[in-house]
Amino acid sequence: MAIYILRRMVSTIAVMVMVGMFVFLLLRLAPGDPAAIIAGKSATAEMIAGIREQLGLNDPLPVQFVHWAFGILRGDLGISIFSGRPVLELISQRLEPTLSLSILTMILSVLVGVSFGILAAWRSGGFVDRLLTAFSAFGYSVPVFVIGYFLIYFFAIRMHWLPVQGYAPIGEGLGPWFVHLVLPTVALSLGFIAFIARVTRASMLEVLSEDYMRTAAAKGASSYAMLFHHALKNAGVPILTVIGLSFAWLIGGVVLTETVFNIPGIGRLVVDAINNRDYPIIQSVLILTSGLYVLINLTVDLAYTLIDPRIRY
């Protein structure tokens, strides 16, 4: 087990170096001279040459890469071209709204998706099951921005129950923070709920027809014990896998949701950075999200061993 974790750590480092190279080359391979892009359209030749020298762009590529990579390891993510402020500072300012939205979305999606899937499997062919079929078609196919604007229109503009847009930092009180996050969380969760519920249903259905479920019934176990004690843990590996995948897909959804609901998070930062060709920000966010992906993958793989004793590394 320890050896496995160690091996995974080593391969993680390898993956991150590859990702780093790719992200690094992104700027170098983009059309045009990075120095010219950074300097802007109205820059003179001397200004561009100055920037080239300052950024070390005259060094060979590998040297540049090593400089850049060690900078990141030291926490130096570079300077934003557009605002001139350190990227690390910009990202940490935007971290709280994004983390709040992501965590709430995952909690809601897992709770609702897993319970929905269990109920649908328990009474397969019944009302809940048919409801899930209809709901998942809806959840898969209607994009976040359509659901988002619909929710805003109905719950905020028509009913005045919830704020239309924006974000309230958690430091200003849990109430406003939560109220602002309700609609974006729901809008972003629908697709994930559909996805997690479908997989949970399929996995549970398979487990429910296993011989050991009949053994549990023959022991006198209650329906609750059968579903949540005997079946759910056996159905857990695929469910855990889709939860991990959902985390990975979350990042794309967050960008859209933050735009629709005007939340000042990482997603918005990236969208603005792309519009402004603010490469240092794009690179940093890419590196950080890739790191997060790899970490989630590792966590999920290790979590398998907790639910299924037959899985040993």
Binding site: E210, R214, A218, K219, A221, A225, D308, P309
Partner: protein
């Protein structure tokens, strides 16, 4: 034995006209066509017949463990201690399962939950039916493992099923079934999936423990050898009905139904040395989706006459505690 007056105090299980149907896309399979039998306290009854004759369906119907969507017990009574358990609520039925009536299944490899330790799974049965705390239940689980003669029970109690062999897993199943000292143990082909050498051990174990605990056992099997070794009384099933029942000595000495005779002939007898060819019963099992006119065995029966193809023979007494559903039982016994 057919007479209801005999339903005295010593009758534990009294099944009357039990009828179970399976529902397919467009057809109904009459898996049990109305069967009646009794199991007395402490008695060992064998239920024999070939695959698909309704042996397992009988067991699952009694415990009400049939798949809900595709099967239904449509008629009859299952009187346990005089009370019809088909009428009980799900909640009341759960109190009986695993406590008063327990079951061992055919497939030890898949009948245990792979993600929990065997100790946990035995302890669960104890905890469902008693107010025992987890440590007490786990101690009981360890005791049960010792009882089913698993070596090193202190250690084995925290093993997962995949760390055990098939024979050991079946011992765990037995430990689980007996943990609450049931009055009736239904063993559905408990040795079929095991190695021959292990089969004998498991059989002996069930018989020993049954005697020690005073439980009645319903032994479902297709193996007449198992019946001869373990049972006091035998029920022979064919096409969803009981065709013969008798105590084990009478059945083997004077089988009264041609099907029973056929079954016995198709068992290899080592005393006779190498046989040219094992006799088989000609023909195939009838399709239970179609209504059957007359005796369901008639198309395969060497004794069949006109009445056999027209009228279904009732189960009738052909001797003391010996009944058969055959119009020509007397001639069959004499043959």
């Amino acid at each position: 034995m057919l007479m209801r007056e005999f339903a005295g105090d010593d009758v534990l299980l009294d099944v009357r006209d039990l009828e179970t149907h399976f529902y397919g896309e467009e057809s109904v399979t009459r898996a049990l066509g109305g069967i009646s039998f009794q199991v007395k306290k402490g008695e060992t009854v064998g239920v024999v017949g070939e695959s698909g004759c309704g042996k397992s369906v009988t067991a699952l119907s009694i415990l009400r463990l049939l798949p809900k969507l595709s099967a239904k017990t449509v008629g009859g009574e299952v009187r346990f201690h005089g009370r019809d358990i088909l009428e009980l609520s799900d909640r009341e039925m759960r109190k009986i399962r695993g406590d008063q009536i327990a079951m061992i299944f055919q497939e030890p490899m898949t009948s245990l939950n792979p993600v929990y330790t065997v100790g946990h799974q035995i302890a669960e049965a104890v905890q469902i039916h008693t107010k025992a705390s987890r440590p007490v239940a786990m101690a009981k689980a360890e005791e049960m493992l010792r009882l089913v003669r698993i070596a090193d029970p202190e250690r084995r109690v925290s093993n997962y099923p995949h760390e055990m062999s098939g024979g050991m897993r079946q011992r765990v199943m037995i430990a689980m079934a007996l943990a609450c000292s049931p009055e009736l143990l239904i063993a559905d082909e408990p040795t079929t999936a095991l190695d021959v050498t292990i089969q004998a051990q498991i059989l002996r174990l069930i018989v020993d423990l049954k005697d020690r605990m005073g439980a009645a056992v319903m032994f479902i099997t297709h193996d007449l050898g198992v019946v001869a070794e373990t049972c006091q009384r035998v029920i022979v099933m064919y096409a969803g009905r009981i065709v013969e029942q008798a105590n084990v000595v009478d059945l083997f000495a004077r089988p009264a139904h041609p099907y029973t005779q056929g079954l016995m002939r198709s068992v290899p007898d080592p005393r006779r040395g190498r046989q040219r060819r094992l006799p088989e019963i000609p023909g195939i099992v009838p399709n239970l989706r179609e209504p059957i006119v007359g005796c369901s065995f008639a198309p395969r029966c060497p004794f069949a006459i006109d009445i056999c193809r027209e009228k279904r023979p009732p189960l009738r007494d052909v001797g003391s505690s010996h009944a058969a559903a055959c119009w020509r039982a007397e001639e069959v016994m004499g043959a």
